[in-house]
Amino acid sequence: MDYRRELLKGNIQTLVLAVLSDSPRHGYGIAQEILRRSGDALRFGEGSIYPALHALEREGSIVGEWETPQGGPARKVYRLTDKGTQELATRKQTWSDFARTIDRVIGGSPDAQPI
């Protein structure tokens, strides 16, 4: 099992929400922004953001609207909803709690205390 891949797969929705919290973007833009923010570290199949996008849209965390820019193909631009903003805050909190807990166990950070 590819550990990094599995870890990324489980958090792709959080990454999408975080990127959309700045500004509305289309799928390609979201993938590029994740790559840029991670300093090219989070390389994954760009297509894998679509199942995440559609799941988030279905649960109402984001909404997609079609836009047709001049001279380009129609693209679906997603933006965060109020529910999505709340969801992102919850996920951020969960992630930081989780990371801290894992650090405590494996001793990954200097401030980690044994349980």
């Binding site: 199949g45 894998s48 559609h54 279905r58």
Partner: protein
């Protein structure tokens, strides 16, 4: 929100051939891009509607085109850029399966609900048929004090089966349960209304008229209330049982009280209280709950459909036909 999809060679797919205009096909579409999209979207064909399929395909195509354009800007040829875009996007088969899993799960759940809808439609139809027969027999027997007005058990079963089948067919045809249950309820109300009118004519049965009027009004009111509750609960697909139970409780309780009140009349004094209770619960709670919940579900599906149409993501069957005829005319 606009549904501004670019035309798509997916029209060549026989499934969509009759639903989308032929002249919308891209003449110079890139073969490799379309082949890639065909592989990617193949798992979606079965479950998604033509419109949803188109939208998803268009979204993925836009991504790939943007990605290819970025590679071209870095100096790659068109073919190289597309190849790089495909590689960056991922394995089309695997991705298609994941996407289908994500998008199809709620659709399959809806199909299961539609099956439930048919069952409920059937039950509602059976209930309406029984109700009508009961009222007809009441009409035929002008003096309700003489004996039981309940039809023979075999006739009841036959009517239940016939009504059930009719309800099932109606629900299948309309793709939802509410149409049949609404029809069933309307039918039963017409029957009940006729019963009331006839009893009112015989003025010395005035008390019976009042009883049936109360029952009829309660039936309408509480079925509506049950339906509203069912509708609200229907937001969660797993709440079918919950909505039926709640609809039953809301609908059945007043009917139970009415039955108990009837117990005070001399004709009912000889009957065992438990028998009246059992009959009330079975007849009113079960049938009312099912009808009410079904109505709620169906109304909800109808509203959802109307919203989809308003958002440009669907059309009434007749509108679709007209659109196709227009497209055929243009093509010819």
């Amino acid at each position: 929100m606009h549904n501004q999809f670019e035309p798509d060679p997916v029209h060549q797919n026989p499934r969509f051939k009759n639903r989308l205009p032929e002249n919308a096909i891209h003449e110079n579409a890139d073969t490799s891009l379309e082949q890639y999209l065909n592989q990617l979207c193949a798992p979606l064909e079965r479950d998604l509607s033509a419109e949803e399929y188109q939208a998803t395909r268009q979204e993925l195509r836009a991504h790939l085109l943007l990605s290819a354009a970025a590679h071209e800007e870095l100096g790659a040829t068109t073919e190289e850029a597309l190849k790089a875009a495909f590689e960056g996007f991922g394995n089309p088969q695997q991705l298609g399966r994941t996407l289908a899993q994500e998008k199809s799960a709620p659709i399959r759940a809806n199909r299961r609900l539609a099956r439930w809808g048919r069952v409920l439609g059937g039950l509602a139809g059976g209930y309406a048929a029984l109700n009508l027969t009961f009222l007809c027999s009441l009409l035929l027997r002008m003096d309700p004090h003489q004996g039981d007005v309940t039809p023979p058990i075999l006739l009841q079963l036959l009517l239940l089966l016939l009504g059930g089948r009719l309800g099932w067919l109606l629900a299948s045809g309309r793709r939802a349960a509410a149409g049949s249950s609404l029809a069933a309820l309307a039918g039963s109300q017409v029957g009940m209304g006729a019963g009331i009118a006839s009893v009112l004519l015989a003025d010395h049965y005035g008390w019976l008229a009042v009883t049936y009027s109360i029952n009829s009004v309660s039936l309408c009111f509480f079925a509506g209330l049950g339906a509203t509750v069912g509708w609200r609960l229907w937001k969660r697909p797993k709440s079918l049982a919950g909505s039926i139970l709640l609809g039953s409780a809301i609908f059945g309780l007043p009917m139970l009280l009415i039955s108990l009140r009837l117990y005070l009349y001399p004709d009912y004094r000889n009957a065992h209280i438990l028998s009246i209770l059992a009959r009330s619960i079975l007849l009113w709670c079960a049938s009312g709950g099912i009808t009410g919940a079904t109505m709620g579900c169906f109304t909800r599906s109808l509203v959802a459909r109307m919203r989809r149409i308003k958002a440009g993501r669907g059309a009434f069957p007749f509108a679709r036909r007209v659109k196709k005829e227009d497209a055929d005319l243009l093509a010819s």
